[in-house]
């Protein structure tokens, strides 16, 4: 503890010795972590969309206009294995739903002279039974045609899986790149100060004492990059929500605060973990080899 101030002062001095390179390392790390945050953000949104769609998996069954007893047809659909719930959506309800979905843009519906929407059965189903339910409803007397959203759901699920894999790849790439950048900066600092280090070795200073300012700088550069990336992603999310929320009302975005909080915790944790990895790497065999080299300078 008696050297805490000394270590901080030394780290600042090492930073200043290669100010431009260290600043590039800092912003480089921040940008890499920012890219990671973007991938995680998109993955998070698509995952939420998939989960929501899975819960809302449904089939729209349109019946012929000559069907008089819709209650009987509804009852027959309810009996099918795999159906969770059936509801008749009449023309007025169909229009009302679309108005809600369109929000401020719903005025466009006033351009139609008549209500363009048809009545249909909204059939909530178990997603894994979609094929059999679809076939059985299609074969019922009185059913005109059946529409399902499986293709969209599968596509979104596919995108979500790709993003998940991409997320892991990006996490690995970010970790390796950050470690390489920061370790390189530490080694650069050590080489620049090799005369000072050699003097300290000759005075009997232990390795930990000699290393600590360099390691502290590495940790601060990594964690600082994480903080900067957190600020960037916060700004991006705030901007994105205010713009996307207006122009793409169909995309069910997760609650903003929840996303911001989750990403901030994630970025700070990742950067802290990477910072600790940098610290550990300084005490691994490659780190020791540098000291052996310095011993023989």
């Amino acid at each position: 503890m008696k050297n805490a101030f000394y270590f901080i002062r030394e780290s600042v001095r090492i930073f200043r010795n290669s100010k431009v390179l260290n600043l590039f390392s800092f912003f480089g790390t921040a940008l890499i972590l920012f890219l990671l945050a973007i991938v995680v953000c998109i993955w998070s949104i698509s995952s939420q969309l998939t989960v929501m769609l899975r819960e809302e998996a449904e089939i729209s069954a349109y019946f012929k206009k000559d069907v008089e007893n819709t209650a009987e047809l509804l009852n027959m659909i309810e009996q099918i294995d795999g159906v969770r719930n059936v509801m008749l959506v009449d023309e007025a309800e169909a229009r009302s739903r679309m108005e809600k979905t369109l929000g401020e843009e719903s005025g466009i519906l006033n351009l139609f002279d008549e209500n363009p929407f048809e009545a249909y059965f909204e059939v909530k189903i178990h997603l894994d039974r979609m094929d059999s339910v679809f076939a059985q409803i299609s074969n019922l007397n009185g059913i005109d045609y059946v529409r399902e959203n499986r293709e969209v759901l599968e596509q979104i699920e596919g995108i979500s899986k790709v993003l998940e894999v991409l997320g892991y790849i990006v996490i690995a790439a970010v970790s390796i790149t950050t470690l390489v950048i920061i370790s390189h900066m530490i080694r650069q600092g050590i080489y620049q100060n090799h005369e000072q280090i050699k003097t300290l070795i000759l005075l009997g200073a232990p390795d930990n004492f000699i290393n600590f300012p360099y390691v502290l700088l590495g940790f601060l550069l990594t964690f600082g990059g994480g903080i900067a990336a957190t600020v960037f992603i916060n700004i991006l999310i705030h901007q994105g929500y205010s713009r996307l929320g207006r122009t793409l009302p169909f995309i069910p975005l997760p609650p903003k605060n929840q996303l911001v909080y989750g990403l901030s915790i994630f970025l700070l944790s990742v950067s802290a973990a990477l910072g600790i990895l940098v610290v550990c790497s300084a005490f691994t065999p490659p780190g020791r080899r540098i000291r052996v080299l310095l011993n023989h300078l």
Binding site: K2, N3, Y6, R13, E195, Q196, K198, T199, L200, I201, L202, L203, G204, A205, P206, F209, N295
Partner: protein, 225 residues
């Protein structure tokens, strides 16, 4: 404190710097090493600091064998040595006080005591007024005195000084010699190389080591402690 038996030092280029060195130094002894340039004085100090290793023979400093495989323990040993390097080895971009403190920060000394020792050492070498001056702004002689203060401040059991008065005027040289000489009262062993043989005559109870072509000749002067 120091025990050498039949020590040889041969550099990788084949030069034999020291040959058949036999030496025994007791705690509190005050030893001058003299000899012409290139005779092996600095090589002897490098051996004692564990910077070089004997090619043959055995060498112990404070019971620590000086052999290559003992690098880690030699680093520990150096914490009990106050070195004064010929080229000073001060750390640039730091004040004189910072440089003196640098020799103690990793030792088990409380902060307050560390600062007091550093300031006290600067007073002893007559540089208290330069404590906050960057070392690159000091004169050659002043820088040398900072190096001596750094060695003395950590109160080592052994001081190894390579030409500690080489760049000093007569008054400062006498002052530094007096400082080193008084350390024997605290049982500190001092080995110092020098060309200034005229300064040695001022002191009794010293040991003189003459180095000639790698061989040493020991002469005890006065009654040794």
């Amino acid at each position: 404190m120091i025990k050498a038996e039949k020590v040889f030092l041969r550099y990788s280029d084949g030069t034999v710097a020291l040959r058949d060195v036999n030496l025994s130094v007791k705690p509190g002894e005050f030893v001058y090493i003299v000899g012409p340039s290139g005779s092996g004085k600095t090589s002897l100090l490098k051996l004692l600091m564990g910077i070089e290793f004997p090619s043959a023979g055995s060498l112990y400093v404070m019971d620590q064998p000086i052999v290559r495989k003992e690098t880690r323990n030699i680093r520990m040993l150096r914490r009990n040595i106050g070195p004064v390097f010929q080229e000073f080895r001060l750390i640039q971009g730091r004040t004189a006080l910072d440089n003196v403190l640098m020799g103690m920060r990793f030792l088990d000394i409380p902060k307050r005591q560390m600062i007091n020792s550093a300031k006290d050492a600067l007073i002893k070498v007559g540089l208290e007024h330069k404590a906050s001056v960057m070392v690159e702004k000091l004169s050659y002689g002043e820088a040398q005195r900072v190096a001596i203060a750094r060695a003395v401040a950590r109160k080592p059991a052994l001081i190894l000084a390579d030409e500690p008065t080489g760049n000093l005027d007569y008054d400062n040289a006498i002052n530094i010699m007096n400082l080193l000489y008084t350390l024997r009262d605290k049982n500190t062993t001092v080995l110092a190389t020098t060309h200034a043989t005229h300064l040695i005559d001022n002191y009794q109870k010293t040991t003189l080591i003459r180095v000639e072509e790698g061989r040493i000749y020991v002469e005890h002067r006065g009654e040794q402690a």
